[in-house]
Symmetry: C2
Subunit: 656 residues, 2 copies
């Protein structure tokens, strides 16, 4: 037996004959400790640290010389210093190839997504120039391809155009878009600075799967305008008005547009499908949008005198991003709208950017720091709002292409921005005849991949409630509105947490014969009841929201156990053991419930014993003097010790 | 060793020399079971039962003859059938004494509280007649004294008078009061019928202590109008406007009113103090309000020709409650206000009624059924709204007097109602000269006891966050508004739950030498690390809201442990054991986090092992195929078994 001092040994099964000699064996009981004493300030500090600094950001600075501290500080502010010194020609070659590849995607997508947000197409290109440059200096992800994305564009477009018409009030609309972008950036940077990044955790994966799919359906429906050549289209975003608008404008449908649009859509979808089947051929789907733009522009140019049925972009201004600080709009009239739009697009684009960054960082085995990413994305959007850009973030599809094309560092973003720069300076006139239908086809191809029905099916299989949340956000977005759909889904997720806390599980435990292990009777067939004891485990913190329920539930367990004993003529119930291992926290209402429960059980001549309360619970029980009132024999470290000690006490007192 | 088959014995401390012979001992490992299979429907049914029928209300009906079932059904609908048959003269004598005692309180308080709600005083008496009669038939508490209460009166008065003036639009105001009462009753009865009683659990004790104290301060300040004889008083309820109104109307203060008011206030407070010190003398404080009313009325009558400075009630109509069905007001204009007021007063009065009922039931050792009480209180208010009554519930102060005076059954409520009936029919003219100041003094005396500073101090001592919630609701009510103060406090309570879930505790466990017990290293000095292992316990469900945090936190634990090992030249870390005992639930995001964590640890050549996942967690892990990917050696029932089995495997493979 080595030097072990534990002499409980087989006391664990007092229901069999060997328990008869229990009085002889010496039972060693371990007392339950209080956690080390801490002042309120120390506790607050720890709690504060847990909430705001879970990653212990100052860890690296400890035990360093001043010089190193400065270097580390610079590196953590500007990650470019971390990898910049080791940058060489080989890395550069990879980055140039990947940068040019994503540029060929970013230019057509930028123009398309700007149209999705009801903004002039050129704003999409501006947004693909400044933000990537800023991100490459501040961002900690090596593979994120930065620029406008579909979801944020859609949400901004839908929220702003509900109050301001993008065609009639185009200047005000543009101002509001830049102002929203400013607030989105401010909100994102504040989340990072205040280390409140956990806010985005409340958008669960289930919510996002549903939301993204719903938004993708809406975006796809919006593209019917371009693909069918409709001129007078509804400004609304919901399923019903869009569909009725499509049907009511049948007279405007143009067969030339439909034929050409469908043709390119099929080409784009086919190339996408090929690349998905054979990841090595990623360049096919990466190159096809730009190729389609070139070909379709040529086609429209060639038939420009034959038909006017196919609408095209028209004149785009040449030159770099004009400053737009003077367009920021802080007067009262639409400020609330701008802030609301900013917060919602900010949180959505942040969620996408961070999720994308984390996905590829995990794939390539490096760390992305959430709070730092938030600051990078936030500053990039604030700077963007002053240079005629709207909300940008890391795009999932372009980042995937970036990784496949061999990107090694954020330099690929710089290369991409340079390509956009060349386009802005010299190539803008070439887009004059680019048809709107090709933009619609590009958007459709991009968003169709966002409908992740496999993920939804997995949610259904593993967790019905998560599936329900997912459906709430899907149908909420589709039929109600984008922000409301999101709010409903977050609300449902929070209600799930609250419901779990309000109605926690209680389990009846039994002993697994021959061991000191106590486990659920329902789950472990071999576990058996210990006569005289009712062993219950509570699987939740004890809060105001559940303490009445738990008290009633435990009394019901007692009643049922006594009925069972009466039917089977078993040994009388004498003690309720409450396993508190999973009670991770308690509040004053919970403490009172324990008091009250003990009082009520005592009136029925039953003893209440607590087992293994965790540190914080133990401390509060101690402060509220309940420990004293429970006495020495009311608190044990393990269920096994409680059972052994109490049975031997009863034996010593000559009770059966 | 009896028949035990456990041969692990002293493998629990592989850090000492005895572990060297580990390879020879046979390690018996218990496998982790899946819970018994259930269909989605069965699970939904169980979940549904847990949420809505935690008390198993049909339990009593099982295995009964049809005749008994009918009797039991009647008894559970009308608790009067339960005790009615055993009622005798002795019980009746007790009930008459207590009934008359509470009537002597109810009559002056009824008049006073009606004034608090800006209603005609007679409505207070009506409300002390019909609702007690209905409750005595439907209610399950034997000691609840039913009638108007201060908090609900205040809240109704403050919410309605913000939109409608009780002096200028008195008929509309009265209509709205009855309509709100109807909605309050409807809401209360629905909560009971739909078994949604847990909604009131969200008003935690901390919230209620703060809210009640805040409301009591507001009510006290309102009484300055009566006590100082002010005629033009503010209609607002917040601290600042009330105090400035008191000061601005100094010219209206009447010294006669102040002298007389203070005199009676001192008498009332003194008698209250005496009764509190010596509970046997409860009748002193019970009788003093009525006595004060009688004496003060006489005084005013005697000096009626000398001064007009003291305002009095004036004419009150004689006769029983007039029907008020025609006063219920369902047109659109103020419907939202009535519903809102109804829900808030409904939930507050319900909380008070149920808390009072539970308190005295627990004191006298019988059960009060929450859902049934809700239905009783709800029906009583719905009936009340049709017979010129406003919101009523069980009053704490009068119920305490009722218990002290020896009430045995709900008959004491019937006796009280009869006394009110006599008053309504014959004694109304006697109240003509009753001064308003005495009503103010009665209210002040009643609400001062509601400021429970001792409870607040205890909250501060035991749980700082609960104290914070309490202060939020106190200052919210005092300075913002009654419903907003309440909403803030509930919000803070919910955020506390969410914060606990978002930033759960993780603990590093060590082995207590010589046992199979693993406990927190920080809390148990004797516990020691097991070389090669990092044993972590997670104290919370694994949800979307915390899975990113937990993943990062566990990686940080790993990093820190490896640094510690490097410094101390300890044995290399090889395995992370995650004790899942306290992980009471998991969702799809949580499962993915476990997957991802395992992948990232594997890249660092570390093994991840899960210990003792609870039933529902095990099931979801199984469905998501993570169990298969963990393999046989990735899942254990206890930390001890995991440590023994893994160390012996490593030994068998010749690793250190």
């Amino acid at each position: 037996m080595g030097h072990g001092t534990n002499r409980i040994e087989d006391m664990s099964s007092p229901n069999n004959e060997t328990a008869a000699n229990a009085r002889e064996t010496v039972v060693e009981i371990h007392s339950v400790c209080l956690p080390p004493k801490k002042t309120t300030f120390q506790k607050l500090k720890k709690r504060f640290g847990d909430v705001f600094f879970p990653d212990d950001p100052l860890e690296r600075f400890r035990n360093q010389t001043w010089r190193n501290k400065v270097i580390l500080g610079l590196q953590s502010l500007f990650p470019i210093f971390t990898w910049g010194s080791q940058y060489d020609l080989k890395l550069f070659r990879s980055d140039v190839i990947s940068g040019l590849t994503i540029a060929s995607l970013a230019i057509p997508q930028g123009i398309s997504y700007a149209k999705l947000a009801n903004l002039p197409p050129i704003v999409g290109l501006y947004s693909s120039f400044v933000p990537p440059l800023i991100y490459s200096v501040l961002g900690s992800s090596k593979h994120l391809a930065v620029g406008p994305v579909s979801i944020a564009s859609l949400v901004m477009g839908s929220m702003l155009s509900e109050s301001v018409s993008p065609t009639q009030d185009s200047i005000l609309y543009l101002k509001l878009a830049f102002t929203s972008t400013f607030f989105a950036g401010l909100f994102q940077a504040s989340l990072g600075l205040l280390r409140l990044g956990f806010v985005i955790d409340f958008l669960s994966k289930a919510t996002l799967v549903g939301f993204t799919a719903g938004a993708a359906v809406i975006v796809s429906l919006q593209q019917l305008k371009g693909l069918l050549g409709i001129v007078h289209f509804t400004g609304k975003m919901q399923f019903v008005p869009v569909m009725s608008s499509v049907i009511n404008t049948r007279s405007e449908w143009s067969w030339e547009t439909i034929v050409m649009g469908l043709g390119f859509l099929i080409i784009l979808l086919t190339t996408r499908h090929i690349s998905m089947r054979k990841p090595k051929l990623f360049w096919i789907s990466a190159a096809s949008p730009l190729a389609s733009v070139v070909i379709s522009t040529l086609l429209v140019y060639l038939i420009r005198d034959k038909t006017h049925a196919i609408s095209f972009i028209g004149h785009l201004p040449k030159g770099l991003n004009p400053p737009s600080v003077n367009m920021l709009y802080f007067s009262a009239a639409h400020l609330a709208l701008a802030i609301k739009t900013g917060i919602i697009t900010g949180i959505l684009s942040l969620t996408e950017g961070i999720a994308v960054g984390r996905t590829f960082a995990s794939l390539k085995n490096y760390q992305v720091n959430g709070n730092k990413e938030m600051m990078a994305i936030g500053f990039m959007n604030m700077a963007g709002s002053c240079t005629s850009c709207y909300v940008t973030t890391g795009s999932f599809s372009r980042s995937a292409v970036n990784v496949n094309a061999g990107a090694k560092t954020a330099v690929s973003n710089i290369v991409m921005a340079s390509a956009v720069l060349v386009t802005l300076l010299f190539l803008m006139p070439l887009f004059y005849y680019t048809p709107n239908l090709i933009l619609a086809a590009i958007i459709l191809t991009a968003v169709i991949g966002l409908i992740d029905y496999q993920a939804a099916y997995k949610l259904w299989k593993v967790d019905k409630f998560d599936f329900f949340t997912c459906m709430c956000s899907f149908f909420g977005v589709l039929f109600v509105s984008v922000p409301l759909g999101l709010a409903i889904a977050v609300g449902v997720s929070v209600i799930k947490i609250l419901l779990h806390v309000t109605r926690p599980n209680t389990l009846e435990f039994g002993n697994i014969p021959g061991t000191q292990i106590y486990q659920s009777l329902k789950r472990y067939r071999e576990a058996s009841r210990v006569p005289g004891f009712l062993i219950l485990a509570v699987e939740s913190p004890l809060y105001f929201a559940n303490c009445t329920y738990l008290q009633e539930r435990i009394l019901r367990w007692t009643r049922e156990e006594e009925n069972r004993i009466k039917e089977n003529n078993d040994r009388n119930l004498k003690c309720i053991i409450l396993d508190m291992t999973a009670v991770s926290s308690i509040d004053t209402s919970g403490i009172e419930a324990v008091f009250e429960l003990r009082r009520r059980l005592e009136k029925q001549s039953l003893q209440l014993v607590l087992v293994n309360p965790v540190g914080s619970v133990m401390e509060k029980l101690h402060k509220s003097k309940i420990i004293e009132s429970l006495g020495l024999s009311g608190l044990y470290l393990t269920v096994g010790e409680a059972v052994s000690d109490l049975s031997s006490t009863w034996k010593a007192h000559g009770q059966p």
